[in-house]
């Protein structure tokens, strides 16, 4: 089976700041790819480059066999990609309902109604908060709202940037469970940037270890978890 996403010789950055060097990897249908690495190693930039927010200098991004390297973000969204930024991923001043509707901005109104209803079934806690401003939600609830928002557009490939950052363990667990549910029950493909390497590598199929914008490891997540040298060097994994 052809991979859903293929990244070839990707060089990207911001203006004159060249951050990513020659990245090569692919993601198969229904795979969870975990991206790990030290702070500032380019994890977020990788997702941004794929989604078209960071500048791609050279290389290609192939989605379902089609070259989408130069498409603007909202075109990529239409094709089925979704990207959840690391921070500011909901509109704090808008109500929960308005946030969900914004997520379906490019869809016809009746479709949005329908999808909001479906998504609310999966995130029942949002139902009682529909008319609250998003800034009144807790950090974990916000991540879940952001996740619900990406689901409105029924994407196939979802990219999450550290959705558990700053969350209490219980809330983080809830978010991780939701990600597993997305893959297992809804059949989504997922690229997950995760600060907590142990947590991430346990649920991931493959892992990508970035160091200073280059790939230091790419392969099975379980193997990386077991790899003492890399683990200790870059991921702060004990033993």
């Amino acid at each position: 089976m052809a991979p859903i996403l293929e990244v070839k010789d990707l060089n990207a950055g911001y203006g004159r700041f060249h951050i990513l060097f020659d990245l090569n990897f692919k993601v198969d249908e229904k795979e969870i790819l975990i991206v790990v690495g030290p702070n500032g190693s380019g994890k977020s930039t990788t997702l941004k480059a794929i989604f078209g927010i960071a500048k791609v200098y050279s290389g290609g991004i192939i989605y379902r066999g089609e070259d989408i390297t130069r498409l603007p973000p909202h075109e990529k969204a239409k094709k089925g990609l979704a990207y959840l930024p690391q921070t500011n991923n909901v509109f704090a001043e808008l109500t929960v309902e308005e946030n969900l509707r914004m997520a379906g901005y490019t869809l016809p109104p009746d479709v949005v109604d329908e999808r909001v209803r479906t998504v609310l079934e999966s995130f029942p806690f949002l139902k009682s908060k529909l008319h609250d401003k998003a800034k009144s939600l807790s950090g974990g609830q916000r991540q879940l709202l952001a996740m619900a928002m990406t689901l409105i557009r029924e994407p196939d490939l979802m990219m999450f940037d550290e959705p558990t950052a700053g969350l209490a363990p219980i809330a983080a667990k809830e978010v991780v469970e939701k990600i597993l549910w997305l893959r297992n029950d809804l059949g989504k493909t997922i690229i997950l940037v995760e600060q907590n390497a142990k947590l991430g590598l346990e649920i991931g199929d493959n892992a990508l270890l970035l160091v200073s914008g280059r790939i230091a490891y790419y392969g099975s997540a379980k193997d990386l978890l077991a790899n003492k040298d890399l683990g200790r060097l870059y991921l702060g994994l004990a033993k």
Binding site: A77, P85, F91, E98, M102, T106, P109
Partner: protein
């Protein structure tokens, strides 16, 4: 009325304050969307004023009252709105796209202000006697019908202005909360990148915000003209100070508070000054043997004074005040634990 403030003056103050509310609201709007502090806003309002003069001179010399107000307001709304859009698309947006910083954009609006004022002055200079023959030397105030109300007289435009301001504010609020584009506008104001990710055409949002801002200014200007004694474009010279004062009082980053800030500044300038005048000359001066003093010519200083006080005590303006916490501390409301987050 008691204390020497007539109903006519009270309504005039409210009319002026309403216009200032619309002006400050529009200024705040383009500031929160495009990050431009628009120094030309007062002159854009003046375009509405000139429109009124033109209409009266050409077509509505014998029309008075409501039909005249509605026509002038609509014409000012559209012409100033279109002007603002053109200024944004032709000058400010290209500059912003080229990476002009905050100061660059401010100086650009400063330049726009001076160009617009020069054009308006030129029109008026050439127009007097030639293009606006009937208005030469006339006061537009006389087109403002006075109503007999409550045993005294008030001017119609002073009733029309607050009513128009209320209607427009309600419409604008409905637009922002009930329409898809309005919600997208609020989303863009908060986080343009995320809005873009959601598929919002933020360029269109910015353009519309300039239209609304200019249109509200044009409408306010078209109606304010009825309170002016003469038709010099210098009249817009100082109103920019009051508009900015209103926006800063409101917090500079919030449209609704901009409206309230502008309204309060308007009241302070007119009513506040008058009250100060009465208090000083009727009570303070006689009892302390101070010479009488007329504060009326200094009404604009009210706005500067208020701005300095706000910047020193609560630079986030009225929008930054934790009203819920304030009420609960005064025992008027049960406290809510969460603190309002700072707007970015």
């Amino acid at each position: 009325m008691a204390a020497g403030i007539s109903l006519y003056f009270l309504m005039a103050s409210i009319g002026y304050a309403s216009a200032l509310g619309l002006l400050s609201m529009g200024l705040s709007l383009t500031f929160v969307t495009t990050k431009v502090a628009n120094f030309a806003h007062g002159t854009i309002a003046m375009i509405g004023g000139i429109t009124t003069l033109f209409l009266i001179d050409r077509y509505m010399y014998n029309v008075k009252g409501l039909p005249l107000f509605v026509t002038s307001a609509l014409a000012g709304f559209i012409i100033a709105g279109v002007t603002a859009v053109v200024l944004y698309l032709v000058i400010l947006k290209p500059l912003a796209d080229r990476g002009s910083d905050v100061i660059g954009l401010m100086i650009a609006t400063f330049a726009i202000d001076i160009m617009l004022q020069s054009i308006l002055s030129m029109i008026l200079n050439l127009a007097h006697g030639k293009h606006f023959p009937k208005l030469f030397g006339a006061s537009v105030q006389s087109w403002d019908v006075t109503l007999n109300c409550c045993g005294t007289q008030i001017a119609e435009s002073h009733v029309f202005l607050p009513v128009a301001a209320i209607i427009l504010t309600i419409l604008f609020h409905l637009f922002l909360t009930k329409t898809k584009f309005g919600i997208a506008m609020r989303a863009t104001i908060e986080n343009p990148d995320l809005a873009e990710v959601m598929g919002v055409n933020t360029k269109a949002v910015y353009t519309i915000s300039w239209f609304i801002s200019g249109a509200l200014a044009g409408l306010a200007g078209a109606l304010l003209v009825f309170s002016l004694k003469d038709t010099s474009p210098n009249n817009s010279n100082l109103i920019i100070v009051s508009i900015f004062a209103g926006s800063i009082l409101g917090g500079l980053g919030n449209v609704y508070w901009g409206l309230i800030g502008g309204f309060l500044i308007g009241l302070a300038e007119k009513l506040g000054t008058q009250l100060l005048n009465l208090f000083y000359n009727n009570y303070l001066a006689p009892s302390l043997h101070l010479p009488p003093f007329s504060f009326v010519n200094y009404e604009k200083l009210m706005s500067l004074g208020l701005v300095i006080i706000v910047l020193l005590t609560a630079p986030q303006g009225l929008a930054g005040i934790d009203w819920g916490g304030l009420l609960s501390r005064m025992g008027l409301k049960t406290a809510r634990s969460r603190k309002p987050e700072r707007e970015v």
